[in-house]
């Protein structure tokens, strides 16, 4: 018996195959980076989710040279444009994962494949963009679910290093870079003191350790300032110092500091630190960041909220605590975005995490912003990315349904106007074994 739901689905799929004329490259067996845009392209007839403004039902998006040239219900389409009829589909700006180790880690448990944790407590000099693997299997998998960019960041230690914002398609590391350094990554020290009589180490020692680590965070910047001055007034006698050089753009405010936290104490301490050091702060993490919502909003410090799938942090938290943090941040007036850091293999969870935040009260358009425009704003690339506006990069995702819905599929994707391959190790194996079962007469009627 074929259910009604399945009948509808099959009809819908047939409609799709007739509507889209896909270029031959999509059937390729390896993922070749998209070719530079050769001429104008017009996506015609879809619901265009601009994010910056209202949705356009039956709208058109035109782009040329990798830049969006027209958006509207009756946008002018150049005669030479390649016209792609996407009627009934949806066009979105590409999603951005605001925190990941994409390209720096292939398989978590295989040490040889990990490049995100340099030894030492303070390693601001290490840069993510020089070590990401452009041929990592994680790029095509994330891309296939509509994630077109991701922050790849070092981890470990107190100051982990410099993160880079990457586009998820390209031949070389340099092709991938959207912005680098995009942020200095700091793991804020644990602030909670266990004051029980039987605490080990005892409370006094915990306080001493904690304060020493915070002091170290002040001192490294004080040292960098002294270095900067010495290089100005006495360059001949001041040898170049890689670590201090790395911190100069942080001192100048050109590069923000992404401070990873889990509890409200850490947020408060990081705010105090940033005030004292005059650095640009981004708070990132899970747990109870929201408890500092009012302070964060008042100081206009943005937040990257990650791993909303995880269990609530505290035993007394409500069951849906992790899902409702986005709503709480939104209500507090904090500029925030979402990320999934736990493993690069899970970058593709980004749209569903946004969707679940909406299920638990966040307005849907805010959920969409939290994976597109807000992220771009937080990293200062909203002049180029995050929404569908004339002049921005043509990084676009075409889906057969609401992009944040679990069951939607990405049908077409462009990064800087380059149509990218949506196949992956996963789809190739799928194809391979469908062939096996077709030969055995066991293939079902799956898509």
């Amino acid at each position: 018996m074929i259910s009604r739901a399945r009948q509808i689905l099959i009809r819908f799929r047939l409609a799709l195959t007739t509507a889209l004329v896909l270029p031959a490259s999509l059937a390729a067996s390896t993922q070749i980076p998209g070719a530079p845009q050769a001429g104008p392209i017009a996506l015609i007839g879809a619901t265009v989710h601009t994010v910056s403004g209202a949705d356009l039902v039956g709208g058109t998006v035109v782009f040329d040279g990798g830049i969006i040239t027209a958006v509207g219900l009756d946008a002018a389409i150049p005669a030479e444009a390649r016209r792609i009829d996407v009627t009934g589909l949806h066009v979105y700006p590409g999603m951005i994962d605001a925190a990941s180790v994409v390209g720096l880690s292939e398989i978590g448990s295989v040490r040889a494949s990990n490049d995100f944790n340099e030894t030492g407590d303070m390693t601001p000099e290490v840069r993510a963009e020089v070590a990401v693997n452009p041929d990592s299997e994680h790029l095509p998998v994330a891309r296939a679910n509509g994630v077109t960019a991701a922050l790849s960041m070092p981890g470990g230690g107190l100051i982990a290093g410099m993160a880079a914002l990457l586009r998820l398609d390209g031949w070389t590391t340099e092709d991938l870079v959207i912005d680098a350094p995009a942020a200095l990554v700091v793991n804020w020290p644990n602030m909670h003191i266990n004051r029980r009589a039987d605490a080990r180490p005892p409370a006094a020692e915990q306080i001493e350790n904690r304060d020493a680590r915070i002091r170290a965070l002040h001192q490294i910047l004080a040292g960098a300032r002294a270095y900067r001055r010495a290089r100005q007034v006495n360059p001949g006698a001041t040898a170049q110092d890689l670590r201090n050089e790395a911190l100069l753009p942080v001192l100048s405010g050109d590069v923000p500091v992404l401070v990873a936290v889990t509890d409200v104490r850490q947020v408060q301490a990081a705010l105090d630190w940033a005030d004292a050091e005059h650095v640009r702060l981004i708070i990132a993490g899970a747990g109870d960041i929201w408890r500092a919502g009012a302070e964060l909003a008042a100081r206009q410090v943005p937040v990257i909220y990650w791993n909303s799938y995880f269990l609530p942090r505290r035993a007394d938290d409500p069951y849906d605590e992790s899902y409702t943090v986005p709503l709480k941040l939104y209500e507090a007036g904090v500029l925030f975005c979402l990320a999934h850091t736990s493993d690069p293999g899970f970058i593709r969870y980004l749209p569903e995490e946004a969707g679940r935040a909406a299920a638990y009260g966040l307005p849907r358009d805010e959920a969409l912003r939290a994976v597109t425009l807000n992220t771009a704003r937080i990293f200062g690339v909203d002049d180029r990315l995050g929404s569908i506006d004339v002049g921005k990069q043509a990084t676009l995702v075409v889906t057969d349904g609401d992009m944040l819905e679990l069951t939607s599929h990405v049908q077409l994707e462009f990064i800087d106007g380059r149509q990218v391959d949506l196949s992956s190790h996963h789809t190739l194996l799928w194809d391979k074994y469908r062939t096996k079962y077709e030969r055995l007469g066991l293939a079902g009627d799956g898509q």
């Binding site: 018996m1 074929i2 259910s3 739901a5 399945r6 689905l9 799929r13 398989i107 978590g108 448990s109 299997e137 994680h138 998998v141 909670h192 003191i193 004051r195 029980r196 009589a197 509890d263 409200v264 104490r265 408060q268 109870d288 799938y309 269990l311 609530p312 505290r314 035993a315 007394d316 069951y319 849906d320 493993d343 690069p344 293999g345 569903e352 969707g355 909406a358 299920a359 638990y360 849907r364 609401d402 944040l404 819905e405 679990l406 069951t407 599929h409 190790h425 996963h426 789809t427 194996l429 799928w430 074994y433 079962y437 055995l440 066991l442 293939a443 079902g444 009627d445 799956g446 898509q447």
Partner: protein, 997 residues
Amino acid sequence: MRITHCLAALLCAAAAHAAPRTGVTPTTGIRDTQPRVHAIVGARIVPRPGVAIDSGTIVLRDGRIEAVGPSAKVRPPDDARIWDGAGRTIYAGLIEPYAHVGLPPAKDQRQHADSHWNENVLAELRAADVYHADAEALKELRELGFTAALIVPDAGLFHGRSALVSTADGALRTVLMRPDVAHHVALKNPGTPSDTWEEVRYPGSLMGAVALLRQTFFDAGWYAQTHDGSHARPAAGTPMETIDALAVLGPAVAGGTNGGDLVILEVTDDRLLRVAGELAQAHGLRLVIRGGGAEYRQLARIVALGVPMILPVNFPAAPDVADAEDALATSLAELWHWEAAPASAGRLRAAGVPVALTSDGLSKRADFPARVRRAMDEGLSTADALAAVTTVPAKMFGVDADLGTIAPGRLAHLVITDGDLFAADTQILDLWIDGEYHLVNDFAPNIDLRGTWDLQLQLPTVAAAPQLEITGKTSRASGWKSTVHRDSLTIAVGTTRLEGQRLSLTFAGDSLGIAGILSLSGRVTDSLIVGSGQTPDGVGFSWQATQAHADTVATSSPTAAGETDSTWSLPALPPFPPVSFGVTHIPEKPDVVLVQNATIWTSGAAGILQGADLLIRKGRVAAVGRDLKVPSGAIVIDATGKHVTPGLVDAHVHVGAMGGLNEWTQAISAEVRIRDVLNAYDHRIYRHMAQGTTTVHVMHGSSNPIGGQNATIKMRWGADVEDLLLEGAAPTIKFALGENVKHANRGPHFTTRYPQTRMGVDALIRDRLTAAREYGERRRHNKRERRDLELDALVEVLEGTRLIHCHSYRQDEILALIRIADDFGFTIGTFQHVLEGYKVAEMLVEHGAHASTFSDWWAYKFEVIDAIPYNAALMHFAGVGVSLNSDLSNYGGRIHVDAAKAVKYGGVPEEEALHMVTIEPARQLGVDAFVGSLEPGKDADFVIWSASPMSSYTRCEQTWIDGRRYFDLADDAARRQQVGSERARLLQAVLVEGGKE
């Protein structure tokens, strides 16, 4: 009188040596033939709990009590030495029921007991063999009034047997009162060293410990039946091992020689009391339980067990919540426990449970009286408190003919105080142990100088009359502070000391115009102090002080008057489970419930019904269809616009298990059972249930080729473990293959456990199944064949009554296990994870195994490099029964999301995708006859969703199990408020108490 007293003190000096006993020790020097006849007269005597003689006499002769009674009736015999009892209260000597005193370190205890292969089984160890007087610890015990103590060995899990000794110093032969009082066994995870494989010891988990206890009790019975005499050798066959540990346990177990030996089981985690009861029942143990202090949570169970309890008084300290952010780190569960723990003993007594109290577990043993007082403030009666350290332990240990009360014929064990036992100001003065006198504190009249005194100082230069103010919490001088006031000046007194009747003071002379420190001393009589002093330059003067008025602060001895204050009431018990969102009762089960006008996903033959109704009668599905008639009395739920599905079934979780998910110290651990370590207090049960999950398979971990037995439970939040277990579920066992079991990711110190390769995994599983087959044969033919719990479980696998759920990734290992099953003639139940199942789907179909997989996990380790999200769809379309599971609790509760991904990746129709989280996992757990679909006759386990369960935007609004509504949004909102208000109330209480300190 005072002189006799002092003389005796001199005679006995500080030594607390043991009483002479009849024996063979030669005398050196002059014999001591002092008559051992004493009469203490004129004392208040409490011969047993609840009884008092205001002025009585006790006669002791040759170490025993000869007579006791009112002084008017009992005359001291002529040959007795007379002791003045005026102002003193006499109790029977106290018994410390659980002391780890005078024992060698654990590693040395192990050397005394190594007959058993497992170093946690030291049953043959006798405290009487290893006890060596520890003068300091014994003095501590005596200072608390203990004249006897049960010495409990403490190494391993089967600790050995305890001995009752007197607390006098001296060799064991002079203090031993009763050897081998009880077998001591601990129900806990002993832990294992874990830096390298070579040092790892079984068991390394709580469930492993329970299994070792069960196996050892069975073995004790078997050993007694097969081993006729020490060093016996059967006439034929392989000689048997000689295992003293098992021989010793024989009289403790029903299967053994049935001596009815006492077993004292240490169960400090109240969640394990269920297991304790099961052990007692299965092995016929005569139990006493040494508890952990949270027994109030399991009151009904303890009453039903009918077991006496030994309870510690190490109540939790108030958490530090002075700072609002710090307070967040303290859970409501901790706060409730802080409030409820001191009342635990009182509650058990009120329920009729015999309770003994121990000072064991206190960081400072000297806190014992204060903690007992706290328990008394919280409902333990004076009589019960006394009984808890006298009559109850005496009876427990079978020594009530000798100890526990003051009566003719009992041993002369007495404790003499200057007030009510355990009252704040009471001091222990003397002890009598086996008829020998032991001084603890000199008797001193209780002089309370607190208040205001007018000083008259006859200073050489000037006479001064300042005021002296003495303050303090108790009437004891040790905590006093004094100040001297003159005009508007206040001077803190440096020293305030009262020894006997002599008071000493030092303070700065500034206010009197004298530079330097004045020192004063004087004798106190009634409300007058007369004495002499010295000026800073060494000139003497006389002084006196008269009391202007006494301090109005009442002495704190709330329980001194006897029984509990009638206005006192117990704090409300925390909910069950005793964690936030716990409940006070299980939700009710309405007779008839009608859910109307919903989109109903039946997961049955009826498919998905739009605008349909679901009728529930007495907890079961009665009908599903359109326009059902509303039965009278039905509770009607309008579900217009909502979706209704069966409760979600998750075939792979670890929620609700405690004490380690893996018995990882052995490669084969089929004997361990998750059901032994189910944790009904796990708040994740609520969190998962609130998202629509109603039945889960709680699994052993994946560290072993053959792991442990799993448990299938329903998420009946608020029920204890018996009621969580889903009756009728198929017995299952965890197997595992690949990287985890071959220690591939464990680092360089774990390269020697067999197996290290997939080849070895295959060989090991084959070997153990072969062993099980042979064992099963032997058991069938020989009733005396030793029962082996590990092989028992594997025999069930071979017989097809226990389903294998096997952790697996790669196609080669999946196929290898299928071939093993083929060769041994059974069918594998379900491959878990099975991320390369899509490569061998036709083999799964052919063999008949099901698959339970993740929707889209990959790349977290090397063996999942080919994991693809199309796995579920490929297997499904090839005909495999596929379920989707969460495994990690971070991902738990919302597996409908995973079902939606089977739609996304590979195009499984939505209705069939929902089967993957409802009826199909139910089949895999053998519970599809009860749950997994909404069809007449099945349990009314269902979820009401705000939108399609396949949507990102859906939310579980109600969760029903057995026709009871366990979750809905409104109830949850109310519970959040309760959590908030309870937290606020208790944080206030902590702050108030902190302020007092």
